[in-house]
Symmetry: C2
Subunit: 296 residues, 2 copies
Amino acid sequence: MSPSKTAFIGLGVMGSPMAGHLVKSGHKVTVFNRTPAKAEAWCEEYGGERAATPAQAAAEADFVFICVGNDEDVRAVALGDTGALAGMAAGAVLVDHSTVSAHLARELAEAAGACDVGFLDAPVSGGQAGAENGALTIMVGGEEAVFERAAPVMDAYARAVTLMGPAGSGQLTKMVNQITVAGLIEALAEGLAFAVNAGLDAKKVVDVISKGAAQSWQMENRAGTMLEGEFDFGFAVDWMRKDLDICLEEAKRNGSELPVAELVNRFYEEIQKAGGGRRDTSSLIGRLPRGNGVEK
Amino acid sequence: MSPSKTAFIGLGVMGSPMAGHLVKSGHKVTVFNRTPAKAEAWCEEYGGERAATPAQAAAEADFVFICVGNDEDVRAVALGDTGALAGMAAGAVLVDHSTVSAHLARELAEAAGACDVGFLDAPVSGGQAGAENGALTIMVGGEEAVFERAAPVMDAYARAVTLMGPAGSGQLTKMVNQITVAGLIEALAEGLAFAVNAGLDAKKVVDVISKGAAQSWQMENRAGTMLEGEFDFGFAVDWMRKDLDICLEEAKRNGSELPVAELVNRFYEEIQKAGGGRRDTSSLIGRLPRGNGVEK
């Protein structure tokens, strides 16, 4: 992989280490962040350059990566006079790593196409640890030729990069992931809270049932902390709510029914209202009655 | 393990191969089944003996195993004049492998104790394949001394036999398993149906997301058949409904809330009413709209 000129927009808990991996892989990286202090700190740590606007960051880049919060945030840094697209040269590629709606992905693909710029929607999974260890899973929507050019650059922070279909397909795949994870965590939470209320040794129960049909990544990685009432880590309820809102809106559009995802979204809303929005998604167990032992 | 005199009551899809494994391990086995033809067929295949009542089957046995349907079925073969307990000698052990209520388990433990007979509630997981391959997971409630005597005999058909606590703890552990599995399958079904409706290659989606936080035994073992609409195998909806009813009743007793398990139980009820009671539990996907491809 020959070094490329890149721009990275959005230096949060995900974007900051991802952009760092680009530097470590030998790419030239120019960054932009809405809070300039974060971009300054990033440049001190990794030695890249800092731009005053997304358009300026993108001006010289062959590949521009965005990793911000929601649809509105992506629009703000991608579109308009100071947005990334305004600065990009024909033939360059814009990649959006944010988890946003599929229709925004299609809109950006169209806007990019009008500027002769390639576009990929490329949400990630693997969390902060995956970003730090360069082991993210990336689900990509877009054209194959564009994908082939950008995938080797994304390898800097990915364990797997897969083209799922045309523009929007990356976002839709991420939605399937979030729908499945949300219901799965609630099912695990209900089982664990029941175990506690039944007076069982819940950790022993997990040891036994994780060998069979109840096994899941969530059970192996979260049951212990759920039983300890530890939620100050991981993927925040606030982010999951944003993602589930996107899923539920898309479900209306494509005719899907998501009764459990909808219910779990309401449970997360309760947790937010009770001040738990920054807690890990496994904090679903916190709203279930548990007769003894577990901190609420 | 020295050979024991055993009795096995209930030769269904689980009990029949389990009793067969006892013969293969060198134990003497006398069987009883409500439908005598099944007992005859079993004796022809495995060469054990057949009794006219549970009491007669149990008369000479050091260990008596029951594997039938619900609370009522267990009462019918364990209690009363012709029930197993009536025939058992002091010092023998009664083991119930059926999935039933925890209060029946405690009641049987008391009734057995009054006859100086040991009792273990010992529901299994691993399904028909686990029974046939002698690879069941057995969750046991009862006294440790009784468990120590019976566990080596159960090894004939088990991969793991674990004492979970006093009488009833085996059943309660199995309930945790079923609660978790029920919600997990629905979450997976919602994700897969959404993938289909979104026009994604759903198998490719499974390949990608099964590497991370959405991974589960159900995803690895059932997503493929769910997408193909194959449900004529596995663990029947009728059995899961019976188990979930037990879970929901116990939840009322111990103060647990099971919103998703309750919802999924209603979905299974719908499937039963539509004539799908014998289908595998993964048939939950069958009641969700899927725009293209999957057989309803």
